[in-house]
Amino acid sequence: MNSAYAVPAVALVVVATVLVGAFGLRISRTTSDFYVASRTVGPRLNAAAISGEYLSAASFLGIAGLVLVQGPDMLWYPVGYAAGYLVLLLFVAAPLRRSGAYTLPDFAEARLASQAVRRLAGTFVVGVGWLYLLPQLQGAGLTLTVLTGAPDSAGGLIVAVVVTAIVAAGGMRSITFVQAFQYWLKLTALLVPALFLVLAWQGDGGARRAFDEPPAFREQRSVRVDDTLDLRLDRPLTVTVDGTVDGRPHDGTVLRLPAGTHRIDAGTRLTFARGTPVPTAERGSNGGMSTSLAAGREERPLYATYGLILATFLGTMGLPHVVVRFYTSPHGVAARRTTVAVLALIGGFYLLPPVYGALGRVYAPELALTGDADAAVLLLPDRVIGGLGGDLLGALVAGGAFAAFLSTASGLTMAVAGVLAQDVLPTRGVRHFRLGTGLAMAVPLAASLLVGGLPVADAVGLAFAVSASSFCPLLVLGIWWRRLTPPGAAAGMLVGGGSAFVAVAATMAGLPVTGGLHALLAWPALWSVPLGFLTMVLVSLATPGRVPPGTAAILARFHLPEELRAEERRATEERRATEERRAAKDLKAREIEA
C-alpha cells in the first residue's frame, strides 16, 4: 500500500475535523439572521450526526473482515447494528427526550429520584464507554500499521491524543456539524471506492463464486504469516515454504502437506500457486477483529447468532454517546423523526461493508490467513485497481477509516468525561470536565497498550451485551412500567449488567473454557438480558413501598406529546381564571346581599 497518498489523507481528515469542530460556530450572525442563528437542529442533520458518531471502526473495517473470513453468516452484525435503532424508535426515543435527561444517569435520576441508582448507572456508562473505546484505539493502530508499517500502538496513541486535545480544549463546540460531516465523509469513503471496485470486478469477468466454495487464489501469491498459527487442511496442499512448518525449517522448498493440522511458525513465508484453495486457520486468542470469537461460533452457531442479535438489537439504546445526541432534538416527535432518519442513513451505509467482504474473498483471500482480515477494506483498492487510481481510492478509504475512529472516539470520550465530571469527580466545572476527558481516554489507552494482542474488537459486541443487559431493562421498564422501584432498578442493573460484564471479562481474559460454557460467556446477552429484566421486575415487586412518589406524573410527562401538555396547562389556567372570576362574582353578590 502506498503511504504517500494515505498519510496526507489521514492528516487532512484530522485537520478538517478540528477545523469544522472549532470554527463551525465562529460564523457570527447579526440580529437580522436571528431565526437562522436560533434554529434548532433538524431531524436530518441530527440523524447524520448520530450516524456519524455511531459508525465506528467495527462498522467501517470489522464487518468486511468478518464477512471475508466467516462468510455471509456475519451479515447479522450490520443487521443488528442497524435494527437496534428500530427498537430505540419503538420503545425509547420520544419518552427519553421528553424526560429532559441528557445522560443515562440523568434519566435514572429523573425517573427514580435516587442518587444511588444514578451513581450505579454512571458506573455502567463509564464501563460501557471504556469497552467501546478500546476497539477504536486498536482499529486505529491496525490502520496505521497497514498504511505505514508503524508499530501497533502508534495509531491508537495518535487518535487518543488528538481526541483528548480536541475535547479537552472545547474544540467540539459544534459537535453536531462535525459528526454529520464525518458521516458523509465515511459514506463517501466507502461508496466511491466500492463503485470502482464493483466496476473492476464486472470488467474482470465477474467471478461469482464468492461464497459457494472455499476461496481460491486467483494468481500466485506469497503470504507472510505474522503470528504462529495452526493450519487446518481438508485435503492435501502443495505450497512453497520459506520458514518453519511443523517444527522443521525449510528454505524455498516445495512441500506437499497432507490433510490434517499443521503448525506454521511466525515469520514463515508461504507461496501458493494459482488456483489453490485458501486453507483455513485455527486461531486461539491472537486474532484481529474478525477471527477471535470464531471458536465459540463454530461450536454453537445458532446460539451465537441469537446472542448477537439480542445484544445488538437491545444494546444500542444504552450506548452513552448515542443517548446524549437525542437531547439535541427539540422535542419528542423530532426525536422519533430523527431515529427514522438514522435508520435510513445507517441502513444505507451498512450495504457497503459486505460488498468489500465479498470482494475481499475473491481478490484477497489470504487475509483470512494472516489475521489482518480487518485490513481488507484498506487493501482492496490497491489490490483490485492498482496504479495511481488504486492509491487515491486507498487514501480515500484510509481517510474514512480515521474519520470513523475520530468521530466515535470523540463522542464516547465526551459522554464518558461528562459522566466522570458530573458523578465521579468531586465538583462540577470546566476544569473537572478536562480532567474527566483525560481520565476517560487514559484508561482505554492503557488497556489497549496492555492487552495488545487480545481479541478486543469483540469488545464492541461485548459492550453491546453489557449495555443491553443493564440499560435496556432500565430504559424499557423505566418508561413503560409504573411499578419500577429504585432497589429493583439497582438490582437489575447490577445482576444483568454485572453478569454480562463478568462474562465479558472472562472472555477477554481468555479463560481456558471450551464448549457450551465458552459460548455462554462469549455471547452473554441471551441469558444476561432476561436475567436483568427478571431481577428488576422481581425486586421491584418485592419492594412495592419504594415506588417513587410522583411516578404517575413523571410517566405522563414521558408519554404525553409536548403540545398536549401545553394545551392541558392552558386549559388548567383558563379553568383557574374562570374560578377566580366566579369567586369574585360570588363575593360581589354576597356583598350586595349584605
Binding site: 440580529t31 429532559g100 472545547g170 481468555g510
Partner: protein
C-alpha cells in the same frame, strides 16, 4: 498469560470500584476502641446510633422514613418491638409481635388526644409472645400531636417509660426540624415566584413612545413593532411554568431587541453565536433577557458611537455556557459586588441580582452569574446552565415547526 492477567485486571476494576463505594457508604466514624472509659464508650455508641436515625426523620414522618429510622430507634431503646404511628395508623412495626398493631391503635386514641404518655399491658393469646407491655410516647410538633412512638417490652419497666419519653422528645425535635425544612422550601418557592421577572415599566413606556412616533411617519413599521411588543409581552406575562427553553428565551430577546433598535437605530449592533445543540436546554424564565437589557443600557450609556453586544451560547459537555458581552461604560466592580449582595439597590429594572438569585435558587450556589467588568472596559456576563437538573422542565414546546 499476559492476556489473562490483563483481562483479570479489567475484570477486577468494577469490583474495586464497588468495594470502594460500599466502603465509603458504610464507613463508621473512627474506631473508638482505645478511647475513653466504658461509660464514655457507651455514650459515643448511643450518640452514633441517634445520629444514624436522624437523617430519615428529617424528611418528615412517612411510612418510608419511619421504616428506615425505626430499626435505629429500637437499637437505641433496646426493646423487643418498636412501632411508629401517625394519627391514623401504624406506619411501621420493627421487631416481634406485629399482631398487636390493631390493639395498639385502639389504645392510642387517648394519648393522641391528650398528648401525654402512657403505659399499659397488652392482652395476647399467644403463650410465647414476648410483648406484654406497651409504652406510648406521643410525638409533638408545635404542641400538635403528630403520632406516637410505642415501645413494647415483656414486663412493666419505669426505665423504659422514661427512655421512650426521651427518645420521643428527640424524634419530635427531628420532626420539628423537618417542618422547618419544609417551610424553608416553601419560602424558597415563594421567593422564586416573587422574583419571577417582570419587564421593567420604563421599557413598556419607552416602547409605546417609540411606536407612537412611527404611527404617522411609517404606519407599517409601527404595526410590526406593535406585533413585536405584543409577542414580547405575551411571553413575559405568561403564567404557566417557571421554566422555558433557551430557544424561547432567545426569541423573546429578539423581540426585545427589535423594539430597542427602533429607538436607537444604528447605534446598536448585536452579534449572535448560538450552538444549536443547546437550544433545547431548560432554564428559568426570563433569566437572560434582563442581562441583555443590562448590556444595552450599559452599552449606550454616555456613548455617542455604536455599541456592540455579543450573545454567545456554547455547548460545554453537560452544561450550556451563555455569555453576554458589551463594550459599553462598564461598572466599578466594588459597586457591582455591593449591588449583588443587596446592599445598594440598582438604579432601575429588575437587574442582575434578581437573575443571580434565581439561578442560585434553582441550580445551587455554583451556578451564579460570573461578571467581568471595570469602569470603561465593558461588561462580560457568563452563566452556566446544566442541561439536566431535577425538577427543571421547560413548560412548552420549543418552537413552532
Amino acid at each position: 498469560m499476559s492476556d489473562f492477567l490483563a483481562g483479570l485486571c479489567i475484570a477486577i476494576l468494577p469490583f474495586l470500584a464497588l468495594g470502594l463505594w460500599l466502603g465509603r457508604r458504610t464507613a463508621r466514624p473512627q474506631n473508638l476502641g482505645g478511647l475513653g472509659t466504658p461509660v464514655e464508650h457507651a455514650t459515643f455508641q448511643t450518640l452514633h446510633t441517634a445520629s444514624l436515625a436522624a437523617p430519615p426523620l428529617r424528611a418528615g414522618l412517612t411510612e418510608e422514613t419511619a421504616r428506615r429510622s425505626a430499626r435505629r430507634l429500637r437499637t437505641l431503646l433496646g426493646t423487643d418491638a418498636l412501632c411508629l404511628t401517625d394519627r391514623e395508623g401504624v406506619l411501621t412495626w420493627d421487631g416481634v409481635g406485629g399482631h398487636h398493631r390493631a390493639e395498639i391503635m385502639e389504645r392510642l386514641a387517648g394519648p393522641l388526644d391528650s398528648g401525654r404518655g402512657e403505659a399499659f399491658p397488652l392482652t395476647c393469646d399467644h403463650a410465647d409472645c414476648p410483648v406484654r407491655w406497651a409504652v406510648v410516647a406521643p410525638l409533638t410538633v408545635d404542641d400538635r400531636v403528630h403520632g406516637a412512638l410505642v415501645a413494647c417490652a415483656p414486663r412493666e419497666s419505669a426505665v423504659l417509660v422514661r427512655a421512650a419519653g426521651e427518645v420521643a422528645r428527640w424524634v419530635s425535635v427531628q420532626l420539628e426540624l423537618a417542618d422547618l425544612d419544609q417551610s424553608r422550601t416553601k419560602l424558597i418557592e415563594a421567593e422564586i415566584k416573587a422574583l419571577r421577572a417582570q419587564i421593567s415599566p420604563h421599557f413598556i413606556f419607552n416602547s409605546l413612545a417609540v411606536i407612537a412616533s412611527f404611527v404617522r411617519t411609517d404606519p407599517e413599521r409601527a404595526r410590526e413593532l406593535l406585533l413585536e411588543f405584543a409577542d414580547f409581552t405575551r411571553y413575559s406575562f405568561r403564567r404557566h411554568g417557571d421554566f422555558t427553553t433557551l430557544a424561547d428565551e432567545l426569541h423573546a430577546i429578539d423581540h426585545y431587541l427589535a423594539l430597542v433598535r427602533a429607538r436607537f437605530g444604528d447605534r446598536l449592533a448585536v452579534t449572535l453565536q448560538i450552538a444549536p445543540e443547546v437550544l433545547p436546554v431548560a432554564l428559568p424564565f426570563l433569566c437572560l433577557q434582563p442581562l441583555v437589557e443590562n448590556a444595552v443600557k450599559h452599552g449606550l450609556e454616555g456613548k455617542a458611537d455604536t455599541c456592540h453586544i455579543q450573545i454567545t451560547a456554547q455547548d460545554a459537555g453537560a452544561e450550556a455556557l451563555v455569555v453576554i458581552e458589551d463594550d459599553g461604560a462598564g461598572m466599578d466592580p466594588v459597586l457591582l459586588r455591593r449591588i449583588l449582595a443587596g446592599e445598594v439597590s440598582p438604579s432601575g429594572g429588575i437587574g442582575l441580582s434578581n437573575v443571580d438569585d434565581r439561578l442560585r435558587q434553582v441550580y445551587g450556589d455554583d451556578y451564579g452569574l460570573v461578571i467581568e467588568t471595570a469602569v470603561g472596559a465593558g461588561m462580560k456576563i457568563t452563566t452556566r446552565v446544566p442541561k439536566y437538573q431535577p425538577g427543571v422542565h421547560s413548560a412548552a414546546r420549543v418552537l413552532p415547526e
